[in-house]
């Protein structure tokens, strides 16, 4: 692990340029395949990456600082803007943290609805990942096919939340409103069609010789390294670690639902791809079960306070967001505003593996590896 802790400063890299005939290439922040405003400084020997460093912070908005000056209810929408791809998950994490602090029990229907929405959101996030990852590697058609399905989900979101991207309907203590008429039918019909679509993608990619040669053996990270770096989510599972917070520390009604955790073997890009594809299937399974079990009743806890003032103390809660473990650490001083709120963004932690994964590969592989990490800059920079 020495090479991970010994991260070279960017200025160091640039200074070394004149000493050897190695080339420094700055990728981003306006590069199409860095998924936002990530800047990766690559040290190249020919086309081989010998060292790299990430330069982040281009999208920093100071969310954590803002939170200290807002009421608890006012904070919630900010979370939709951190990981804007998985807004629902982020919202869930926040409200659950507060509910945990308040020790609030929420109605079962709200729990099931939340699970359905969060899993739908996982699907949409993974579909977007698949689309962009494939696009980075050059498979354009997958991009549009995946967007087609994502569009369906976004339509459901639009109907439910009134927004497509920054979806927000979770309140502390339940949900603002119940599901609209036909919600179940729409989700059901989507889930019925979805496996066929997945098969379509896999037909294009799974056994494609070019896809294999671009992904198999690229960006390998061992399970030990993955744990040491702190990877979570599909990158961790791709390395063969069977770890999912939904199973390990079940929240909401996940303990009532049946699903499997897919995990890989070699920890390469292809494994992570397979893991995510399988996760999509499992999400669909969860959604179908949840739809079946969806009880009637209230969606808002009756005991929910009007002004949220969690007891003095420190609280940490984490959920399995599509990207990994999303955690919130809250320090409450008993007032209506948090004393300190810290977000543990999965993308930020996962990005730390980039250096280890990419060194020794070619420049073109860096693109594939960034894609496989599935990072969102809004979350990294906060």
């Amino acid at each position: 692990m020495a090479d991970i802790t010994d991260i070279t400063d960017i200025t160091d890299i640039i200074e070394q340029e004149n000493e050897s005939n190695e080339m420094i290439l700055s990728m981003g922040p306006q590069h199409p395949s860095t998924h936002g405003v990530l800047r990766v400084v690559l040290k190249l020997d020919g086309e081989i990456v010998t060292d790299l460093d990430c330069d982040i912070g281009y999208l920093h908005r100071g969310v954590e600082k803002i939170c200290e000056h807002r009421n608890y209810q006012m904070i919630a929408p900010y979370f939709d803007r951190t990981d804007y791809i998985a807004a629902v998950s982020n919202g869930l994490c926040y409200v659950e943290t507060i509910e945990k602090a308040l020790n609030l029990e929420i109605p079962l229907r709200a729990q099931y609805l939340r699970v359905i929405l969060v899993e739908l959101n996982r699907l949409s996030s993974h579909l977007l990942w698949l689309a962009t990852h494939a696009l980075d590697i050059g498979a354009v058609t997958v991009f549009l096919w995946a967007f087609r399905e994502r569009e369906e989900i976004l339509k459901i979101f639009e109907n439910f939340f009134g927004a497509r991207l920054t979806c927000h309907a979770f309140r502390i203590g339940g949900m603002t409103y119940d599901a609209y008429d036909g919600f179940q039918a729409q989700v059901k019909s989507f889930c019925d069609r979805f496996p066929k679509c997945l098969e379509d993608y896999e037909t294009l990619l799974n056994t494609n010789r070019i896809w294999l040669s671009r992904t198999v053996g690229i960006g390998i990270i061992s399970s030990d390294d993955a744990i040491n770096i702190g990877l979570t989510g599909p990158p961790l599972r791709g390395s063969g670690v069977e770890w999912d917070i939904r199973k390990a520390h079940p929240y909401e009604c996940y303990s009532d639902l049946e699903f499997d955790i897919p995990y890989g073997e070699n920890g390469d890009t292809y494994d992570r791809y397979l893991v995510r594809m399988e996760e999509m299937r499992q999400s669909r399974r969860i959604i179908l079960q949840a739809l079946e079990k969806l009880p009637d009743g209230e969606v808002m806890a009756p005991k929910a306070p009007k002004t949220v003032k969690p007891p003095i103390g420190e609280y940490y809660h984490s959920i399995e967001s599509p990207k990994g473990e999303l955690g919130i650490y809250l320090v409450s001083d008993g007032s209506a505003q948090p004393a300190r709120l810290r977000i543990r963004p999965p993308s930020f932690v996962n990005l730390q593996a980039l250096r280890q994964m990419a060194i020794g590969h070619l420049v073109a592989d860096v693109v594939a590896i960034i894609g496989t990490l599935d990072i969102v800059l809004g979350e990294i920079d906060r």
């Binding site: 671009r214 390998i220 693109v367």
Partner: protein, 424 residues
Amino acid sequence: MYIYLLSAPIWFSKLPILKDYLDPMVLDYLVWPLVQIGLLLFVVLTLIAYLTLAERKISAWIQVRIGPNRVGPQGLLQPLADGIKLLIKEDLIPLKADKGIFIVAPIIAMVAALVSLAVIPWGAAWATISNIDVGLLFILAVSSFGVLGIILGGWASNSKYALLGALRSAAQMVSYEVPMGLALIGALMFTKTLALQDMVINQENLHIWNVLFQPLGFLIYLISGIAETNRAPFDLPEAESELVAGYHTEYSGFRFSLFFIAEYASMLIISAIAVTVFLGGWYLPGLSYILIPGSTLFVLASIGVFAFKTLVLLYVFFWLRWSLPRYRYDQLMELAWKWMIPASLANILLTATILVIAKEFGLIESQGNFLSISTAGYIFLIGTAFIITVPLTWIILGQINARSRDFNLREVEPLPMNRAKKNS
């Protein structure tokens, strides 16, 4: 000089105005070629414009979209709009660019692509502008010019991305030129000429398409041709996820459109050559029984046949582009040097051996510039091509390349397909 040119068809020399004022010789060797050239340029450029539309439409269909549909009925006027947009766009020349070369480069690319059109047999008889002795060589030579346009364009832009794209592109094109040329040699053994029109006539005489004799050659040619035109899955020079846009990053407006036209024109030419050499050109079995050979109608029909075959191949180009991911650069080079070139060499060797054997057994006979093949000869040649040449090359190359070192710097074992195990 004018031995390369073919005289005008009779109906042309009987056109009233021309006949009155111009000598028949002038008509044949100056006016008619100019007419042909003008017509061809018009048709080809229009075709290229509509190829862009076709590509967009086809990609849209593949991706379950509608595609351009706003300009004109079904978006049919879209190319026109695009053209006008490109033409009236501001013509940017980067400050630090090498101005002269920056201007000349797209012209070179364009010219290289268009000059080849002169020798392609678009149809029977008068539909060809010229049928020179070294037609195929000429096309290969001229298309090697295209590299210059790209490399100079990239260099003149004075931008790292453009230069890198240009170098990649040039290396790729130079590499794939080799198997492309070599793949044709196998077919040349059957046609016994380099003149393209004669090749078609040869295939007509044998009543067969060369692709049956040369399945491997055709495959190699097609793959190399796709790579040669920098199309997906070999569109490394334009890999936007890596290089933004490749060698023409700094180009815009009219000059960009020249590059664009050159790319499509070279696609067209690659397809046309494939059709001519491997797919019988304008020859369609049975056509000469329906129409009188040499008649105007026949010529028009042959043009139609040629166009149809070419368009089918172009469709394959589009199809591949929208269904395959992109190769990595080293994998692309590996494909060229470890697979394509040895395979094409093996193809040449095996084809020559098979021909010698066939000649030894009296299955084929050489009559001047033509081959005459007996029925058993057809079966033998086609059978050996499919049963021996293709699998043998495949096996041998597979054996050899399985042992050679991949450039993947981290070695991994080949993996089984479905490794995402479920937690049971």
